[in-house]
């Protein structure tokens, strides 16, 4: 590969440009374009949705309108995310022959300098394969990959801060309880440089440190480069597409199970109509186990304290029907639970509907 990597440092661009810059460099890339890293941060907050998401199903558009939050669809996959000046995006636009063929190795190459940067700052970051960065079990930013034209793209960020409250507000969710659970889970399983260090480190210092770590990892010179007229023209073209209703409101086919907090943690929900009433479940799954569960509905369950005890008894259980039913039956026996028209099997079905949604007929 070429031993020189162009760096485009763009702090404080518009929210739209913070997304369209890497698309522009990707689509404008030619055989003689240098491998490029863009470090970019937006000058305002916005919501960014994944390529195949349906904006009307995933984003609370009323909230976004009320709070003047623009929404943009990227050409990278994954879920909706709230972004602002608290993140410095690190976007790689490389020739495919200069990256490993396997995605796992490609993500490792991309993530290693981010991890090294965090570590030199005193943060105990590690690569959590395939493409997360974790600090003591908490995620500190996600990453993604795409192909645009002849370019292979890798995107991620250095997280100074992350507004978890607003993140939980911009998602379209079936209930406020679900929103609360998302916020609580973001608090429990996401972290930032500010949280880890007590305050955000100097941004110029972080930029220089990251450039140094990239140079070391790639064995390449990283130089401050220029944005070309051709890339600007391409960016203007993509700006126009990204702000068109046709692009933003295209129907997405991506169906995800619940809300992903990080690679090991998901929030899921479901309802099940039992004879004795509707059972609603909001559960946090961690590595195939029930990390937390909230049970509600219009059924009767006595004694009154037993619902909380039932929820408590399920924490840490493997999310399999056999284990759940056994745990629930044990709680029924231990607490003398009475629930007319609702059985342990019904609760098991409700939870399993959240864990593995039933297929549509």
């Amino acid at each position: 590969m070429s031993k020189k990597i162009r760096l485009l440092y763009m702090e404080g661009v518009s929210p739209l440009r913070s997304q369209t810059v890497y698309h522009a460099v990707g689509y404008a890339m030619k055989a003689d374009t240098p491998n490029t890293i863009i470090m970019v941060s937006p000058n305002g907050p916005y919501v960014c949705i994944g390529y195949h998401q349906d904006i009307q199903k995933e984003v609370d558009l009323d909230y976004c309108t009320q709070h003047n939050l623009p929404v943009y669809r990227r050409e990278v996959g994954g879920g909706a995310v709230f972004l602002d000046n608290g993140q410095l995006f690190t976007q790689w636009i490389f020739h495919k022959e200069d990256l490993p063929a396997s995605l796992e190795e490609r993500f490792k190459l991309y993530i290693d300098p981010l991890v090294a940067t965090y570590q030199e700052l005193g943060i105990n970051a590690i690569l959590r394969p395939i493409n997360d960065i974790h600090v003591n079990g908490k995620k500190i930013g996600g990453t993604g990959a795409a192909q645009m034209g002849i370019a292979e793209i890798l995107v991620g960020s250095l997280m100074y801060t992350f507004d978890k409250k607003t993140m939980s507000q911009v998602l379209k969710v079936p209930s406020e309880k679900m929103r609360d659970k998302i916020f609580e889970s973001l608090e429990a399983y996401m972290t930032t440089m500010s949280e880890q260090l007590g305050s955000a480190p100097d941004r110029a210092m972080v930029k220089d440190l990251y450039m140094k770590k990239v140079a070391e990892a790639m064995g390449a010179e990283v130089y401050d480069g220029e944005w070309t007229a051709e890339e600007e023209a391409m960016a203007q073209e993509i700006d126009a597409r990204f702000t068109s209703d046709e692009w933003l409101y295209q129907k997405g086919q991506l169906h995800q199970q619940g809300v992903k907090i990080h690679a090991d943690v998901h929030i899921v929900e479901a309802a099940f109509k039992a004879q004795g009433g509707l059972i609603r479940i909001i559960a946090r799954l961690r590595e195939g186990r029930i990390d937390d569960v909230t049970i509600s509905g219009d059924f009767t369950l006595l004694p009154v304290f037993a619902l909380g005890a039932l929820e408590q008894s399920l924490r840490g259980s493997a999310a399999t029907p056999e284990t759940l039913k056994s745990k629930i039956e044990e709680a029924y026996y231990r607490l003398g639970i009475q629930s007319p028209g609702v059985t342990p099997a019904d609760f098991t079905t409700a939870i399993m509907n959240a864990v593995t949604p039933p297929q549509a007929a």
Binding site: H52, E75, N131, G144, A145
Partner: protein
């Protein structure tokens, strides 16, 4: 031929650089991702098709695929008009190409519009197998399929 667990049926044509297989039937060509391509891509999460009747230039995008970790194009091996897509099949089972890339996991059927001038990059039979074996060695890949 199976090489590094990658199936390379000798009766198909291939655009090896683009990892596309082609089955010609009269003036219609059925196209799909090769075993190598579906392995590199990983489990499909979503796929978006372009409209039937659309003309696509060689190398341009016929469908866009999102896997768990990557988004990218499925490129046209030659200029063509889309006459049918497998949108219904993938609507029922998004993992079709991960399970059966050369069968029910086909992606689009097209009518080539400039095949005489653009077929130079295609290969079939033993030549395709040998070239694909070299590519598999270069990529250091072992193919994987989804079974459910």
């Amino acid at each position: 031929m199976i090489f590094h667990a990658c199936d390379i049926p000798e009766d198909l044509y291939y655009d090896i650089e683009r990892d596309v297989w082609i089955r010609f039937d009269g003036d219609v060509a059925t196209l799909g991702m090769t075993d190598v391509a579906q392995t590199r891509c990983g489990k499909f999460a979503a796929i978006s098709f372009r409209d039937v009747g659309k003309n696509i230039a060689q190398g341009k995008t016929l469908t866009t695929i999102e896997s768990a970790k990557w988004v990218g194009p499925f490129p046209a091996p030659f200029s063509c008009e889309i006459i049918e897509t497998n949108e219904a099949g993938f609507g029922k089972d998004i993992l079709l190409a991960n399970k059966d890339p050369y069968g029910v996991g086909w992606l689009v059927k097209v009518k080539p519009t400039n095949l005489e001038n653009e077929k130079g990059g295609l290969s079939t039979g033993n030549e395709a197998v040998e070239r694909y074996k070299e590519r598999i060695k270069k990529l250091k890949i072992n193919c994987l399929r989804c079974i459910d």
